[in-house]
Symmetry: C2
Subunit: 219 residues, 2 copies
């Protein structure tokens, strides 16, 4: 049996990244929580190990987490996205970077914001160049649901990637933690997934529900 990939989740001290980290650790991946502070990341890791009754999770500073992992997940706030990528870039060569960033611009988070260049993730691919396979995914999944390990999540994952094989790998990583996921085309299609989060926030407000999501039908 092939060993499972070690996954670093940068911003894993936050809700969304933490939820993904918990689910992957629960499925037997070695997970590295990356944080701005190694100490805070270590605390998050310890809490997850306690929840799971296991020791799959460790905490490191973002730069060390990225360097030590096979696959790196970027789950930091939009305002910190580019600076975090710059900080960890040297550790990403040859790896898949999964960008979860949603380009929300507070306070108007229910309005779709289109970043310069077309999407938040394309700016990252441009910064890193071809040596890193950047994939966009998980923007629409509620952190709240991720942390409830037994809950079926009623929201599909749209995976966008210019590298088809990398896209397939991320689809498989999503399926492993109980999510329906679809390869939704090249990286430029990511603006739909990124913008959809603002649409879902608009629906939550309008229809007074806690967590609207999407399902792909007809597949």
């Amino acid at each position: 049996m092939q060993d499972k990939a070690t996954i670093a989740v940068l911003g894993g001290t936050g809700k969304e990244g933490g939820g993904l980290a918990l689910r992957w650790a629960h499925k037997g991946h070695r997970v590295i929580i990356g944080g701005r502070s190694a100490e805070r990341a270590g605390e998050s890791a310890a809490a997850m190990n306690a929840t799971l009754g296991d020791d799959n999770v460790v905490g490191m500073a973002n730069v060390d987490a990225a360097a030590a992992a096979d696959i790196v997940v970027l789950a930091v706030p939009y305002a910190a996205q580019q600076s975090t990528v710059q900080e960890v870039a040297s550790g990403l060569a040859g790896k898949i970077l999964i960008d979860v960033t949603v380009p929300l611009v507070p306070p108007k988070v229910s309005r779709v914001h289109i970043p310069e260049g077309g999407s938040a993730v394309e700016a990252v691919q441009k910064m890193l160049g071809e040596g890193v396979r950047v994939v966009s995914a998980f923007q629409n999944i509620s952190a709240h649901h991720l942390t409830k390990l037994d809950e079926e999540i009623e929201c599909d994952v749209l995976v966008c990637a210019d590298d088809g094989a990398a896209g397939d790998e991320v689809v498989a990583l999503a399926q492993e933690i109980g999510l329906r996921a679809w390869y939704a085309g090249p990286l430029c299609n990511s603006i739909v997934a990124e913008g959809l989060t603002s649409v879902l926030i608009a629906l939550n407000r309008r229809y007074k529900v806690p967590g609207a999501g999407i399902r792909i039908t007809g597949v």
Copy 2:
């Protein structure tokens, strides 16, 4: 009982517009098919009346159709969108214009194209000014399914509008023809619905299915 609105469908001679026109006529609306040629529009109208065994549908040139209706639907190809709006603008004052346009750029129709200004529909609202309430909707509904009157359509409609009352009216018009529809926020959110069509085309190709769609969950 209030009389039902008369609806003009510009580009109603095409598949998508024709499908919407047929469904509204079936529900008792007086429908005007608008076409570049009044003659061709008349032929489409006659065919719909024959299908429905009724006489709710008439055909006119686009400019006359827009002027004669209460509500106007724009369902022409992207390349003809702005010229059609310019042609019919004088007949739109005070009305709701429902824009169905998807900014597909052949041959790469499975790649999301972001129009200058952020979305196809915002360009139309800008051209027309505040005197016309522009609403975006129906971009993701397969024409094929619309024409099968008894078929439940497994795809929700995202309705975007800066004018909330106009958005609500379009949600109701969609529900009338058997579609689940949601008010998804301001006009700038329309890029998600517009771009989603390219994502659905990408899914159709990748998963070899004829008509992927979306459902909103958790509402």
